[in-house]
Assembly symmetry: C2
Homo-oligomer: 331 residues x 2
């Protein structure tokens, strides 16, 4: 199963990433990071959310972010759209010329999760999202339909495949060409990924699916790899592996614990696998370090500590070495 | 490529894990952890190293550990053997009835790495190890031959496959039936794993290979999964993902950074994949938390924060819910 020669990585730090952080990051620092992320070569990035500012103060500056962020050509800016009131605000930005290229709408395949997270039944959510999709079409904004809890739900346990397929069909029927499959709380494993993503690709051969896995249980990279081996070409990741729902555990298990796959680690692995992401890993590593400074904590990228894999041997000539066994220290 | 129904996990916390920790853990706490790890259901664990106490003070208590640790039936205790002087010490333990079941001998496939790490050329190391293997055979102790830097070297870059195969052949010719393939500094990727492990299994069809990957770049789990899909049945891992060489980076990147695959995360994933490890994940999680207490730092297991994947739905009945879009907060 060869991987695609190139993969489009959507950098989610400024939205899905920051969503899990209780500390509100100043607008200037968000703009700095968005600018840095764009300069690292991304073709796509999440920039903000139109969630209600009282409920997610992190994104109270959504309009300002959109108005002031850089707009390099060929880069798609993505925003999360939770509901029609959020869309009202977004519509103003869009009409004034500083909107976004794509919006994300999301319904959890687990209705229990959707109720807990969005306070809507499936039926209510579909009604609302159908309305938003009609308005988005008029505005010329692309919609990414997202099914959450695709591989399992922390409330309701196993999620029926039929519920996932039903949501995908809903978004496709209302005009979405791209569907994100969210492993909201890291319940997936590679076999389940192959089973579900494989079946969805057969059911919806024209749809572009996005792999979106979380490191809740350390399986984000292995699940992403499994999805890419099925032929997916779009993937979500975040600098420092932050994002997703806030950790349910308290104390030593910090916020951001359940986060996305680390962009730095994923890009490093994909480079090693011969897959072009268009991203500059050295810049990503710099960005990952800056993200740690801004959030004032060690995040979960490994590559920012270890650096690239070494393929360039130093000039090395074996020398005659006295056998000094006592100095052999490690294995 | 189906996984084996069952996988033998060697828990490396007490040796490969602690090796990277600058703080010497008190003998009582090591014995407590070894006892805990045995009680979690392992069939195999590393318990100590016979490295020279002046060079690795962490293991100055090797004899005491062997003398005092529990000896449940069916559990194989493994020790690292760096050289003949270490074997002299081990031989005394073994003859007095408190030895170990298996010893690990290790040579880096990269000669530059072997020189830097063990101060021996390949030729010198083979000479020493051949002598140890002859003595081990007389003592009735099984030898695990380990090739290090199998997938790449931090000093010499890419490692020739011929050098790896040569080391495997050396150990097999001298009587080893089990060979550990060490990704010493996390240079592997799943394609390279398939290529190298696949070729080695063809060359040495009777050998039992052990998958040993590090999380240096976040790819330990994906590489382990790739190796298990090739049919390997033995795997190394460590509570909290500690182990391996001390981090080359300083400052915020802590000791233990380049460590082994996390036992907790790996066992959770394998359980999800339907693979029996014989390990009790709940106990492993408890052990992982105790390991954090002992080492006084948050380690890198994810599952100890997130817990198991939820497959058991709570009694859940969808209720009529007022649509209250403003309260939808996350996606």
């Amino acid at each position: 199963m060869p991987l695609s020669d190139s993969v489009i990585l959507c950098e989610c730090w400024a939205r899905d990433g920051l969503q899990s952080m209780p500390h509100v990051v100043p607008t200037e620092q968000k703009l700095e990071m968005i600018s840095n992320i764009m300069a690292s070569g991304v073709q796509k990035l999440e920039v903000t959310s139109f969630s209600h500012p009282k409920l997610l103060p992190q994104f109270a500056d959504a309009e300002e972010i959109l108005r002031r962020m850089p707009r390099p050509s060929g880069v798609s800016a993505v925003v999360l759209m939770p509901n029609e009131r959020g869309f009202d605000r977004f519509e103003i930005c869009q009409k004034e010329g500083y909107g976004a290229d794509e919006i994300i709408l999301m319904i959890s395949a687990s209705e229990a999760h959707n109720l807990a997270n969005f306070r809507m039944t499936h039926s209510q959510a579909k009604h609302v999202h159908a309305g938003i999709m009609a308005r988005a079409e008029k505005l010329g904004v692309k919609v990414i339909g997202c099914a959450g809890t695709v591989y399992g739900c922390p409330i309701a346990g196993d999620v029926a495949f039929a519920d996932v397929a039903d949501l995908v069909r809903f978004y496709v029927d209302h005009g979405a060409a791209t569907i994100m499959l969210g492993d909201t709380t890291g319940a997936a494993n590679p076999f389940l990924v192959r089973e579900r993503v494989g079946a969805l690709r057969e059911l919806f051969p024209k749809v572009e699916f996005i792999a979106h896995f979380h490191e809740t249980r350390g399986t984000g990279i292995v699940n992403t790899f499994a999805a890419l081996e099925l032929g997916l070409r779009y993937v979500d990741a975040s600098l420092g592996a932050i994002g997703g729902q806030p950790a349910t555990s308290q104390g030593r298990y910090q916020h951001g614990f359940t986060g996305n796959v680390s962009s730095e680690d994923l890009v490093c692995m994909l480079e090693e696998c011969g897959v072009d992401t268009g991203l500059d890993l050295d810049r990503l590593i710099q960005n990952g370090r800056r993200a740690e400074d801004i959030l004032d904590q060690r995040l979960r990228s490994n590559v920012i500590g270890a650096g690239r894999v070494n393929h360039d041997p130093r000039a090395y000539a074996p020398q005659a070495v006295e056998s000094s066994q006592d100095e052999s220290i490690r294995a």
